[in-house]
């Protein structure tokens, strides 16, 4: 569906007005219709235009969510769930208007079951907030997308991060959900048992559904013990290919690496400039190993050997926290370092993922493409998963630059699909990637649409995302 069509969705002004009236009666000053707040809730972080909702409601309980959904559905007005607004593909835009449910006030950690290694949270809890809460108990929640996103949003977008190679993504770490359906019913998808095989796996149907099947009001996630020891370090390679091959060899040999992240030369240069470092300006792998003291030392040593065999190294690593943080500082500052390459520009992120064996080829071809089009676009990759991002620096007000970047992004997706990869490894479909879904999934779209129709027969749950109705 083209963007022009998205903008031209039908709106029933009378219904919107009636719904807002009913919501105002129920929510009072927890209903906001000011333009600034509405626009802030349609934030997209891309060239997709801002499509604000008609109102924003701040629920405090699941019953509030049920009430809001019932009122909206009764008036046939769309409902858009909102966590922290850090999604990247227009997930929270309101192309047909409607009511955004902002989970700012539903940010309680409801229970921590330390011995069972799980906890129950409301959707507005952010990942950093949760980890601060858990720290005293020696536990942590491993999924770390770039932003300090909400657990609700991360669940809805099936988020992942730098730890995915060891701890998986949200799909592997959500145990149960409470969800308000389009009917206004509140259901629990599973019980707290580690395995949810009581019937179809409805928990994971909602994980990654981007708010299009219902509104998540409570999440039970798996936790992990904070490792006794962490070793981390950096390792330069003569080429992106050598770094990718080292990654494959590491994973294939069963070394349980926790993080393995690739920087290309340009990203390293950017980090050196921004963080005042003297990293070797060649492709670089950042690594982390989690486990016992002896275990991480042995894994680090084995990785060092693999790297040396492939012409890389030396692998500089340490188990000392401050030292490690210093080495990893560049990774943490990557985004700001990129912006520093071209002050005033915005960074547009791409997100393809390919089979591991095609990763080197895909990254190398993409670098060539970037050079041919005179773009400034450093590359960072979660290479253990075959997933990498380019950050295209551009002036969003310059139509020629935007057009170049869009065309680049399309070529990149086509390249990934031709290598049997996917158009999005972790950012999601939202509005931005809908058109690629047909190319990638073909007939599966009909199956997805059938599910959408079955669960949301009036197309009111975050409409205009993932599948056209």
């Amino acid at each position: 569906m083209a963007m022009a069509e998205l903008a031209a969705q039908p709106r029933n002004e009378k219904a919107v007005k009636a719904a807002i009236g009913a919501l105002a009666a129920k929510f009072g000053n927890r209903l906001v219709t000011s333009q600034a707040v509405r626009e802030q809730h349609g934030n997209t972080l891309t060239w997709i235009e801002n499509q604000p909702p008609d109102a924003v409601v701040f629920p405090q309980t699941a019953e509030d969510v049920q009430d809001a959904v019932r009122i909206c559905v009764q008036h046939r007005v769309p409902v858009i769930p909102y966590g922290t607004g850090t999604s990247l593909e227009g997930h929270i835009n309101a192309p047909q208007g409607g009511v955004t449910l902002d989970f700012r006030d539903m940010n309680r950690v409801l229970a921590v079951h330390a011995e069972d290694l799980d906890c129950v949270v409301e959707p507005g809890v952010t990942r950093k907030q949760l980890n601060e809460y858990l720290r005293d108990q020696g536990l942590f929640f491993p999924i770390d997308p770039g932003a300090d996103a909400s657990i609700g949003g991360m669940t809805a977008t099936r988020a992942s991060g730098t730890n995915a190679v060891r701890y998986g993504t949200m799909k592997d770490n959500v145990l149960a959900l409470k969800v308000v359906l389009a009917s206004g019913e509140l259901i629990s998808t599973a019980r707290r048992a580690k395995k949810s095989s009581a019937g179809y796996d409805l928990t994971r149907l909602f994980v990654g559904s981007e708010g299009t099947l219902g509104v998540i009001t409570e999440i039970t996630v798996k936790l992990h013990g904070i490792p006794e020891a962490i070793s981390g370090g950096i390792c330069p390679f003569p080429s992106v290919e050598a770094a990718c091959n080292a990654t494959i060899a590491t994973i294939q040999s069963g070394i349980p690496v926790a993080r393995i992240e690739l920087f290309d030369e340009l990203q390293v240069k950017a980090c050196n400039a921004y963080s005042k470092l003297t990293l070797p300006e060649s492709p670089l792998l950042f690594l982390e190993f989690h486990g016992t003291e002896a275990g991480v030392a042995e894994q680090s040593a084995r990785f060092g050997e693999i790297a040396a065999d492939l012409g890389g190294g030396p692998f500089t690593w340490t188990t000392n926290t401050e030292e490690r943080n210093r080495l990893w500082q560049a990774r943490h500052d990557a985004y700001w370092a990129v912006i520093g390459l071209r002050p005033g520009a915005k960074a547009f992120a791409t997100d393809v993922c390919v089979p591991l064996s095609r990763l080197a080829e895909c990254v190398t071809e993409t670098q060539r493409d970037i050079a041919e089009h005179n773009m400034l676009a450093p590359i960072v990759g979660h290479v253990g998963d075959g997933n990498f991002h380019t950050s295209v620096l551009l002036d969003m007000n310059d139509p020629a630059e935007v057009a170049t970047a869009k065309a680049f992004s399309e070529r990149l997706v086509e390249r990934a699909l031709a290598m049997e990869g996917t158009c999005t490894g972790e950012h999601g479909v939202g509005q931005g990637k809908m058109k690629y879904l047909q190319a990638e999934h073909g007939e599966a779209l009909a199956a997805m649409r059938a599910i959408k129709h079955a669960l949301d027969p009036q197309d009111l749950m975050n409409p205009g995302k993932i599948v056209a109705f």
């Binding site: 011995e115 069972d116 977008t157 099936r158 992942s160 995915a164 592997d172 019913e185 259901i187 629990s188 019980r191 048992a193 580690k194 395995k195 095989s197 009581a198 019937g199 179809y200 796996d201 994971r204 149907l205 990654g208 559904s209 013990g225 490792p227 006794e228 020891a229 494959i248 294939q252 040999s253 349980p256 486990g291 002896a294 084995r302 993922c353 089979p355 591991l356 064996s357 998963d385 075959g386 997933n387 990869g421 996917t422 158009c423 999005t424 490894g425 972790e426 479909v429 690629y436 999934h441 073909g442 007939e443 599966a444 779209l445 009909a446 997805m448 059938a450 079955a454 669960l455 599948v467």
Partner: protein
């Protein structure tokens, strides 16, 4: 005797489903039939036998993925992987012996359709977590694909997860792709002897919360342990460590230190360790036999309370650090359904894996669902199979 449809490829499957749809026939999807006894006792018009859809279609050891036709025997896949020092990390339970048949049966499509996983699930995840992509024929007789060859994607609804554990009631899988992983170089098992169930739960929880990367945590109460090792006679709590030899050794030492306050400790070297975990994986203490077999899933620290609450005549073993309980009960009356479900008290779920058809016809086999969830289940079923031709009634009456 149910008549048989035996397609040779995906096109045949589509044609068969098309025909069944036109003739209003219901179909039971089978591979080798090794799990045929699981589910409510219901009648279907024909069997859709997928065992001719067989063969590994793509295996790239470097890439750690494998694609195969749905009817490919597990034995073939496991042998191929073993030859390359790889494995399916979710360690699927082999239900053959549970139903009195030989070991090494089942197909990859069946394993995924039933979402089978073994002891390593607590570390590596279940079958569905390794299920990357598939081609299937829906109840609309439409062939569709989902997922692919990458380990991570966020392209819409995760249909692999919905297919896993759907027991052949949503669509007929014709081709599947799974993640494979390197096989651990070696393994050892730390045994803690003589613990009661509650103490064992605490010991397993301590081990799981440590940095020792435990890949199996099971507990055999004394009566079952006795059937394992004639001379033991005491309960056994088993914790598995896998990896390269030096790493296994130092983690084993760390675990011995951590657990010595719980009870006497013994260590099983590689061979004996593999034997013990095969016993746990395949529920060997309860294979064959006429007793009803329940599979109960609860929060790990509650496992021992639930088991105790089932009462007289129940024998059980714990896997997944106490979160999975295999319970054998006399196959009389309701096969223990009433007391099992009362013991869980809505804090987990129980599946009746093995029982005579008469019992499976009269009590729910899968955990009964709340009305809201049941309605949602029905809608998901209808979105894949609107006419209800695939195994209607196998999971829930009327669905």
């Amino acid at each position: 005797m149910t008549s048989l449809l035996k397609p040779r490829d995906g096109k045949d499957v589509e044609a068969a489903v098309h025909w069944a749809l036109a003739e209003s026939k219901t179909l039971e999807i089978v591979g080798q039939g090794s799990k045929r006894g699981v589910g409510r006792a219901a009648q279907w018009d024909l069997s859709l036998d997928l065992s001719d859809l067989s063969g590994v279609t793509l295996y790239e050891p470097d890439e750690l993925i494998l694609s195969a036709k749905a009817g490919t025997p597990m034995a073939e896949i496991e042998a191929l992987l073993a030859a390359n020092n790889q494995e399916l990390a979710f360690e699927p339970v082999d239900y053959g012996p549970v139903f009195g048949a030989g070991p090494g049966r089942g197909t990859i499509g069946g394993v995924l359709g039933a979402n089978l996983s073994g002891p390593r699930r607590i570390k590596a995840g279940a079958a569905r977590d390794h299920f990357l992509g598939f081609t299937a024929v829906s109840g609309r007789a439409e062939t569709f694909k989902s997922g692919g060859r990458v380990v991570k994607n966020v392209t819409g609804y995760d249909l692999c997860k919905v297919m896993a554990g759907s027991w052949g009631t949503l669509a007929a899988l014709t081709d599947v792709t799974v993640k494979v992983l390197p096989r651990a170089e070696t393994e050892e098992t730390v045994l803690v002897l003589g613990l009661d169930d509650a103490t064992a739960a605490r010991a397993m929880s301590a081990a799981m919360g440590s940095s020792n990367d435990v890949s199996g945590a099971a507990h055999f109460p004394a009566p079952v342990a006795a059937s394992l090792q004639a001379e033991a006679g005491a309960a056994l709590t088993a914790l598995r460590l896998e990896g390269v030899a030096p790493s296994v050794v130092h983690r084993r030492r760390a675990l011995e230190v951590l657990l010595k306050s719980f009870g006497e400790i013994a260590v099983l070297e590689e061979g004996a360790s593999r034997d013990v975990w095969r016993v746990i994986r395949n529920v060997t203490p309860f294979t064959g036999g006429a007793r009803a077999l329940w599979r109960i899933s609860v929060a790990p620290t509650r496992g021992h309370e639930v088991a105790a609450a089932i009462g007289e005549g129940a024998e059980y073993v714990y896997d997944w650090a106490g979160g999975l309980i295999w319970v054998a009960l006399p196959a009389t009356e309701d096969g223990g359904a009433e007391r099992v479900r009362r013991a869980i008290a809505a804090n987990g779920h129980a599946t009746l894996i093995r029982a005579p058809a008469a019992i499976r016809a009269s009590v729910p086999v899968f955990e009964p669902q709340e009305p809201g969830l049941a309605a949602l289940t029905r809608r998901v079923k209808e979105s894949f199979d609107p006419k209800g031709i695939f195994g209607p009634g196998r999971m829930y009456a009327g669905i």
